[in-house]
Symmetry: C2
Subunit: 141 residues, 2 copies
């Protein structure tokens, strides 16, 4: 029963994990790009107020994903790093797959940001299988 008994229940579970996945991924991204990640960086990236970011970071800190002291930079715990890596991999898979079927990069990035959290292992494997295949260029017509 990897999927749970009900599609709607599964979707709700996916949504419950979504914030953590996106935030740790963003933190890792920003650290790579800017050296350190600040609350401000996240509020700009997510397009929400710094208040929302702070509250979410507190929860992720309680959950053992984020390491942080007041007014300090935002870091990831080992578990946060793990989750960030997995999230980034999954994100890239979904974006690449959408592009492969002919979606523009901008739209792929937009749609993947939501779709990624609902793609099960089986679906991700199917996407990767397709990415491994040579480009079809199926409809040249």
């Amino acid at each position: 029963m990897p999927n749970g008994p009900n599609p709607f229940a599964k979707t709700r579970r996916d949504h419950a994990d979504e914030t953590a996945e996106d935030y740790v991924e963003a933190i890792a991204d920003i650290e790579v790009a800017s050296g350190t990640c600040r609350v401000k960086d996240l509020s700009e990236r997510m397009q929400v107020s710094h208040v929302t970011v702070t509250r979410i970071l507190n929860r992720l800190s309680d959950a053992g994903l984020v390491a942080r002291e007041p007014y300090g930079p935002v870091g990831l715990t080992p578990r946060g790093l793990e989750m960030a890596a997995a999230s980034r991999t999954r994100h890239e898979t979904v974006v690449s797959f959408l592009e492969r079927i002919g979606v523009s990069n901008a739209t792929a990035e937009h749609d993947a940001e939501g779709m990624e959290h609902h793609a099960s292992k089986e679906t991700l494997e199917a996407m990767r299988r397709h990415l491994r295949q040579p480009e079809d260029d199926a409809n040249l017509g």
Copy 2:
């Protein structure tokens, strides 16, 4: 700017529409299957309490999507019918597409229930384009 400026903002907008889309789709489904739709039917379908269903139906009624009187059956307004039809079409597209790339029907139904709300027009068109192509049966090995 069909996508809005930010992937996370778009995802939040998608989520804001999600409940309405799934409920009107479910109501239409249940009406076809059972003749009428009751609160009970929805609470079983969605796997939530009847209280949650009632509150959501009140909101959808205020929004002009659902027609309803206390203790009566749950119906759709013309606008609700429209949305239900569009949602069902989109749902079917995503399920069929996932199956086409090799995902089992059960998993396709589960993943599509969440993914569908994040698939833009462009992505849906790409999926339908692929569905129109002959089965590749690409990797027979």
